[in-house]
């Protein structure tokens, strides 16, 4: 199991995946850092500190959204061919003829990919937040919580793509996972609109998509962890219509939803194991 996980990490390093991601992330951080540094000079007169922080808080959420999007895409692109690629090329033939079970092969893959995702999420969020703090002296209220939500969101997609990879080629599995991701995001907005207009049916549609693929619910969790109290009270005052805004969350995800997300990951992993055990190589 750990041998397979180790191979995943080594592949990422050797194939320069890590290098490419590090360069691009550094570039993104530098760019956004420059953006933050321009906030105080947006108007003719320098803005007061309070206002700078308010704008920064909203910008951080936007940047976090970009990161979550990149995270989702990378998780899918790396996991979707993880198994199908080895089966198609024939690498899996000699590996699975060894005394390892299908279970430990798959869990090994999952552990390796999850570790990769963890390092990337942790490094990029930490770097971005450090840059923001040094440039505009703003720190979101609960950065660790936001990181945990972002990471879990990535992990959900990674697990889904890996499960699809037991049966589908990398390209097909990747497309399916991304379409589902997009639909979950839309579902979140639809649910928000339902809440805003107090329409039960529409709200239910949103809830159901949130449960089918918990990515959007987890994203809202990250947003909530990044919202300063002032913004929260401000937007709440604007009425229920704000619920439809995908960059806003009026409340943290309820605890049962967190449990559901954990169960979801475990269940999809079990499904993937079952599917892979019956896969003919």
């Amino acid at each position: 199991m750990l041998v397979v996980a180790g191979l995943v990490l080594r592949e990422a390093a050797r194939r320069r995946l890590v290098l490419a991601v590090v360069i691009l992330t550094a570039l993104a951080v530098v760019l956004t850092g420059w953006g933050f540094s321009r906030i105080p000079y947006l108007s003719a007169r320098p803005l007061p500190v309070e206002q700078v922080r308010l704008i920064a808080s909203q910008l951080v959420i936007l940047v976090a959204f970009m990161f979550s999007f990149v995270l989702a895409l990378s998780a899918v692109f790396v996991a979707a061919p993880a198994i199908s690629g080895e089966v198609e090329s024939g690498i899996a033939l000699s590996l699975l003829a060894r005394p390892i079970s299908r279970t430990s092969y798959l869990i090994g893959k999952w552990l390796g990919l999850a570790a990769l995702l963890f390092v990337y999420t942790a490094a990029s969020t930490a770097l971005e937040l450090v840059v923001v703090r040094s440039v505009v002296d703003y720190e979101p209220p609960r950065p660790l919580e936001a990181f945990a939500f972002l990471y879990t969101e990535g992990l959900v997609l990674l697990t889904l793509a890996l499960a699809l990879s037991t049966r589908m080629s990398g390209m097909v599995g990747g497309v399916v996972a991304l379409v589902l991701f997009g639909m979950a995001w839309m579902g979140g907005i639809v649910g928000g609109i339902g809440q805003a207009f107090d329409n039960a049916t529409v709200t239910h549609v949103g809830t159901v998509t949130k449960l089918v693929l918990p990515t959007d619910g987890l994203w809202r969790g990250a947003v909530h962890a990044l919202e300063p109290a002032a913004v929260l009270t401000g937007v709440r005052g604007a009425g229920p219509a704000a619920a439809a805004n995908p960059f806003f969350a009026s409340a943290p995800p309820p605890f049962p939803f967190l449990v559901w997300s954990a169960l979801w990951i475990a269940a999809v992993l079990v499904l993937a194991l079952w599917s892979f055990r019956h896969r003919e190589i």
């Binding site: 080594r10 090329s89 003829a97 060894r98 005394p99 003919e280």
Partner: protein, 323 residues
Amino acid sequence: MLSPDAAIETVDLAKRYGRITALVGLSMRVERGSIFGFLGPNGAGKTTAVKLLLGLARPTAGDALVLGAPVSDDRAHREARRRVGYLPELFRYQGWLSAREVLAAHCALMGIDRAARGHEIDQALATVGLARRADDRVQTFSKGMQQRLGLGVALLGRPELVVLDEPTSALDPVGRHDVREIVRGLRARGTTVFLNSHLLSEVEQVCDRVAVVDQGRVIAIGALRELLRADTVRIRATGLTDGARASLAREGFSLDGDGERFVARDVDEERVPALVEALARAGARVHAVEPQHETLEERFLALLAPAAEGGAQRATAEKKEQH
């Protein structure tokens, strides 16, 4: 019915892929320590049989024992695979690793002692002739070098059973010679080798027993020498009259040919001395007697001929139906 002391035993092993039947009912036994050749034309089901034996695919019916472990028992079969080496027909290894690292990964998967790994790997590399390229990335290897690496992977950890699926498909003549030497070396050590191939001369040179499969079933199986009957004898003799030939025929030796060169058919090896005596009694002066071995290729083609004809007939029949 299955006995655990054979290296491989299968009973009515069958495999269907949807509408395609890859194996109909394979029953065979491979004794420990033997070199077993598994022959057959393209699409006969050879690779399918190997995949079933290694647990890479599941049989539709029947069962097989590999080193005493049934393929239907996941745990026991996995344990048994510790002692099995395998070179797939489609040999591909992690291109981003060096040859040494690929071998090391396989050592780790096999649970070979850390301390013993270095030596195992060096030995495998030397055996397959890759020692000089050991630290190069596999993606820079030629096809034949990759197959050599695969062979090295199959030899790791002194397995009791080595399964080679077309081990020389990408190799040059030197490589093929090397493979024969490796297989002979394995036999000397008591390792069982299951060799899938359609290179008949190769099989002929190394195998003790062979099975010929066609359309998913065994059509012949046995020791190579039994399978290849030596039943034709070439004779060079003078002074053989027509009368003498007639009396030889009454003894059961009918000779074709004229002048000095004759061919006696249906004479197996044990009866060659009797034939020589009979010739001498008939007054012939015998210059040379050569029992002829049928080649594996001749035998193979003869075995497959009825099937091929049947296939052709079937095809024409189908065509007629369509009209």
